[in-house]
Amino acid sequence: MLPRPPVPPETRVAGIAVEAVTVEREGRPILRDVSVELDARRTAVIGANGSGKSTFVRLLNGLVLPAAGRVTVQGLDTQRDAAAVRRRVGFVFTDPQAQILMPTPIEDLRLSLRGTSRAETERRVWATLGEHGLSDRADVPASALSGGQKQLLALASVLITDPALLVADEPTTLLDLRNARRIGDLLLSDPAQLVVATHDLDLAARCDHALLFDDGVLTASGEPAAVIEAYRRSCA
């Protein structure tokens, strides 16, 4: 197993409070009375298909709103201060295809910086393309990128906004060993606080904290090794 990357010196912890949250869909609770404070630098969220991982991470940027209870990020309520929360939270989806909104990589990065001055935008866009090894692919159709490059682009267009909190929903599932590791390393070593839902237990083990969901209930929260062990037992 790979080692946990060191916490970068300029680390920030955004501070997340989930208080007695219930989420319902079609009259059925899909998260039940979840309370947790997340102050660890890197938190993994694990559990079976349908246990509520995606629902939980989507709470953190207001893509899903609680039916009861409340969620705050840096003291901001995801419901009341939705716009402010979204400016601080970057979200990475499983399928980069769902997240790349513009025809080419460079346009997609520019989209993230709407409102910034033109010169500043170009400077940051090219810097980011360079950092992620995408400079020579700036103008090709995004659909022509390889799977790994697509996920790099999706991540880049989130990181370029310099979020305080990075939330990712199974960002490495579609990738091979090398690409999964590269994306994993990028996520784990970014200065932003990280919450990542994942089926990849190696990735989970490299976090500082882990949460386990089972059928909408938070059943464990603690050291990754112990939580992963609990998950394996529950699957046996």
């Binding site: 513009m102 025809p103 080419t104 159709p141 659909s143 022509a144 990128l145 390889s146 799977g147």
Partner: protein
């Protein structure tokens, strides 16, 4: 073999555009004359511009068959054979012919904005009105001038849809070139872009 692969993808693309037209039917504004303003014409224009002149009308026909089967696939959740004796019947026929024409006008050329705009205006508006207005007049018992005048309410919306279709087609060409050609069409879609 190669031909079979193409057939499979043909069917799937026809089905996709039919589904798109159906979904766009949820954006609609019923009007007193019985002919609604509907985003489905945008779907017809897109089908015509993206598919070829053989497949585009099939996508539209597919929607009409679904409607004939009684499924609520037309604007405002309408369907059933009644539609084909109603005031919109001519427009529906116009969609089929218009899709062919758009395909013919854009096919075999490099996609340019003016050609796409021309095709969507001619095939997606003129032709549709050409078939739609007379039938509407007939069914509602109006004279032709009145029917034509009353359908002027559609024009601003339809011009907007033609503009949108043009912009979307151009963006699609940059975002996903394989959408248009058969180049590399027998490769896995996932791999083609991988």
């Amino acid at each position: 073999m190669a031909r079979q692969n193409d057939l499979g993808r043909d069917l799937a693309r026809i089905a996709v555009f039919a589904a798109l037209i159906v979904v766009l039917g949820m954006v609609t504004l019923p009007l007193p004359g019985g002919v609604p303003i509907t985003a489905q014409t945008l779907g017809v224009m897109l089908a015509g511009a993206v598919l070829d002149p053989r497949r585009a009308p099939l996508a539209v026909l597919l929607v009409l068959v679904l409607a004939a089967l009684g499924l609520p696939v037309l604007a405002g959740g309408r369907g059933g054979l009644g539609v084909f004796v109603g005031p919109t019947a001519g427009y529906l026929l116009g969609w089929v012919i218009g899709a062919v024409l758009i395909g013919l006008l854009v096919r075999g050329h490099r996609i340019s904005w003016w050609r796409t705009a021309l095709a969507t205006v001619v095939g997606g508006i003129l032709v549709v009105y050409l078939f739609g207005i007379p039938v509407q007049a007939l069914v509602l018992g109006l004279d032709l001038q009145t029917a034509a005048a009353s359908s002027l309410v559609f024009l601003p919306g339809d011009l907007l849809k033609a503009a949108a279709a043009t912009a979307l087609v151009l963006a699609l060409r940059r975002a996903y070139p394989p959408a248009f050609g058969r180049a590399g069409i027998d490769a896995p879609a996932s791999a083609r872009a991988a």
